[in-house]
């Protein structure tokens, strides 16, 4: 055997430099300023005091934050619980080819083109008890509906608004997944005498696993960071009923200018999203590919 010497050339590090700079300016430096705020009490531009982990401790003990976090988790789970099954059902019902398929695709994708604050405004007017189509109709029917007065109504309205806005995304992803299944699978299922449910359970659902994972992650992250729509629709009210995490954060940072606690909170918020996505991703990977007997 001949010994080979590996040529050592440290110049290769220069190739990493552009990426390093991009990431530094786009992610690391902004994040570090937040870290900077989170460990100081800035009284005025000239006077600042290093406070260590004090803000973190304070934020962790904040009852309002706990409430907002719970509300947020409940909301995100509700969004997933409604949008994912609904999206799958919609995708299954969409025509596969021809002009109908194109027409339906455009119709379904329409709500995705509307900016967030416009969605909020649309629903604000739509749900108004005096002039809104939805609100007034419900009033006429004798249902005492008011998203500004009733916490439950406000919560449901925010949820329905998100379902209206984003279920099409789930549906489109599922539709793409469904279209990628070769015809032979359906033919084989017919030959094997599989019921419609068996086709869904053993062919369509497993083949949609990849796109569903993307849909769940996207919808989870997005709904966990929701801000604009409830801000426009309810302003977080009535009371704190629709004050989700990001809104609470904005109130702290912009409303009260408590930069220290807000920064500490931002970091915790970031870590929560990271952690939940990590858990979700790994769990879904496992569900899809694990060996049933547990042995390879």
């Amino acid at each position: 055997m001949s010994s080979t010497t590996k040529p050592i050339n440290q110049k290769a590090w220069w190739l990493v430099l552009p990426v390093f700079l991009c990431v530094a300016f786009s992610a690391v430096l902004p994040l570090m300023t937040v870290v900077n705020y989170s460990v100081q009490d800035i009284i005025s531009p000239e006077r600042r005091v290093f406070v260590g982990t004090e803000w973190f401790a304070a934020v962790m003990r904040d009852e309002d934050l706990h409430a907002a976090l719970l509300r947020q988790l409940g909301y995100s789970l509700a969004v997933l619980a409604v949008e994912i099954p609904l999206g799958i059902v919609l995708a299954l019902g969409m025509p596969a080819q021809g002009w109908k398929a194109s027409a339906v695709l455009v119709l379904v994708a329409l709500s995705l083109l509307i900016p967030w604050n416009v969605v909020g405004t649309i629903w604000q007017i739509y749900g108004r008890a005096d002039i809104g189509l939805l609100g007034a109709t419900l009033q006429r029917l004798g249902i005492d509906y008011s998203y500004t007065g009733n916490a439950r109504d406000a919560w449901i309205t925010v949820l329905v608004m998100d379902v209206w806005h984003w279920t099409p995304l789930v549906a489109l992803l599922c539709y793409a997944g469904l279209r990628s299944i070769p015809d032979a699978y359906y033919q084989a299922a017919r030959i094997d005498g599989a019921s419609k449910f068996a086709v869904f359970r053993y062919i369509q659902l497993p083949k949609m696993r990849g796109v569903l994972m993307i849909a769940v992650l996207l919808r989870f992250m997005d709904s966990f960071m929701i801000y604009t729509e409830p801000f426009v629709l309810t302003g977080g009210g009535p009371g704190n009923a629709t004050t989700f995490l990001s809104q609470y954060l904005t109130q702290k940072a912009v409303g009260q200018f408590d930069l220290g606690p807000a920064a500490a909170f931002s970091l915790i918020y970031f870590l929560i999203i990271l952690l939940l996505c990590f858990i979700l991703y790994n769990w879904m990977q496992r569900v899809g590919t694990a060996d049933k007997t547990g042995v390879e």
């Binding site: 070769p182 032979a184 017919r190 030959i191 094997d192 053993y202 049933k292 007997t293 390879e296």
Partner: protein, 356 residues
């Protein structure tokens, strides 16, 4: 198990007018109960269409399909109780190998004990029994295709098992094994098997009866030796064999046939007029100069491929190929030689159909 009678035509577009509008031209065919058939032809000749019509995935645009005399033209594959295996492996990803094999039985509500027994039997036949508890998704392509084959064979009461080029994705050495396995299974289970392929070796080794198809037409149905010895259509002569049959223009008149300006006496009676002479390269031999039934050629190519020497001779712008034994000294490139083209194995065609 069933006898399948076809009397149909199929076009994918409405109101077919030309022959070219048809995927399948009007045909009448019978697949006998318990026979092993192959549908052989080039891509696009309609063999998969014919297969899908048999299985019920496709309803013919005209005519009928009947099983044992019962009209099943509009029945679903399930009602016909057909099994079909596709070109690319279809497996249910989330199931184990055993669950995959059991799926067609479970859908039909067979008792669990019976299912277990059948799955065990089929797994043993296909040598899958070591992998029964593994997830099917993690297996190699050939194991997946074995699962597909197994799902096709697991029901014992099927009318017929149809294969649509099932060995395309399999490695050559495994192909041999699986093909032998299928043949063996056919002997054991006595099922009606119909096998679609464009590979003549596969068709000829697997099937008792081969249906040769081209352009939506079944041009000949017969056992391997008939297709080789007496091709009923020039396409069969050309498609079967490697290389295919030699064809030379000929002109017949009373008791003799004229090939490229040379007249030969013939003991067979031929319809007078323009004909095509067909002779397999296997039956073309070297002849003495001016021997009756021989043509003088210039050798354009002479390839020794070990088992035989393939000589390509040219004569008056026509090409004649001959497979010669390696023992005799074959003519080399540029040599002049005489090749015997008329003999007992020579066939004559009029309008592409065999006449003598």
């Amino acid at each position: 198990m069933a006898r399948i009678d076809l009397d149909l035509a199929h076009a994918y577009r409405p109101n077919p007018k030309d022959d070219s509008d048809y995927a399948l031209l009007p045909l009448k065919m019978t697949f006998d109960d318990g026979g092993a058939y192959a549908l052989l032809g080039p891509s696009g000749c309609g063999k998969t269409t014919l297969l899908n019509i048999c299985s019920g995935l496709l309803v013919p645009s005209q005519g009928t399909v009947s099983f044992d005399g019962r009209d099943v033209t509009h029945d679903t594959p399930q009602a016909r109780n057909i099994a079909q295996v596709f070109q690319f492996p279809v497996i249910y990803d989330t199931m184990t190998v055993a669950e995959n094999l059991a799926f067609p039985l479970r859908n039909r509500g067979i008792a669990p004990g019976r299912i277990k027994q059948r799955v065990g039997r089929i797994a043993e036949m296909l040598e899958l029994n070591g992998q029964l508890d593994q997830r099917a998704a993690n297996l190699a392509a050939d194991a997946k295709q074995k699962i597909s084959l197994g799902r096709g064979l697991v029901r014992e009461d099927v009318s017929a098992v149809l294969f649509d080029e099932p060995l395309t994705v399999i490695d050559p050495h495994l192909k041999w094994q699986l093909r032998r396995k299928l043949k063996q299974i056919h002997h054991e289970l006595k099922l009606t098997l119909i096998y679609v392929t464009h590979d003549q070796v596969e068709a000829l080794t697997f099937a008792d009866q081969v249906v040769v198809m081209t352009r939506g037409r079944a041009v000949q149905v017969g056992p391997a030796d008939a297709l080789f010895e007496r091709p009923a259509h020039t396409f069969v002569g050309h498609f079967i064999g490697s290389p295919g049959m030699n064809f030379l223009p000929a002109y017949a008149s009373k008791g003799s046939v004229n090939v490229a300006g040379r007249a030969f006496a013939l003991d067979r009676t031929l319809p007078e007029g323009e004909l095509k002479l067909g002779v397999r390269p296997e039956y073309v031999s070297l002849a003495a100069a001016n021997a009756p039934g021989a043509l003088p050629v210039t050798v354009a190519q002479s390839q020794d491929v070990g088992t035989h020497v393939l000589v390509t001779g040219q004569f008056d712008g026509m090409t004649v190929k001959a497979r010669l034994s390696p023992e005799i000294s074959a003519p080399r490139r540029g040599d002049a030689a005489w090749l015997q083209v008329i003999g007992p194995h020579t066939c004559f065609y009029k309008d592409e159909e065999l006449v003598a």
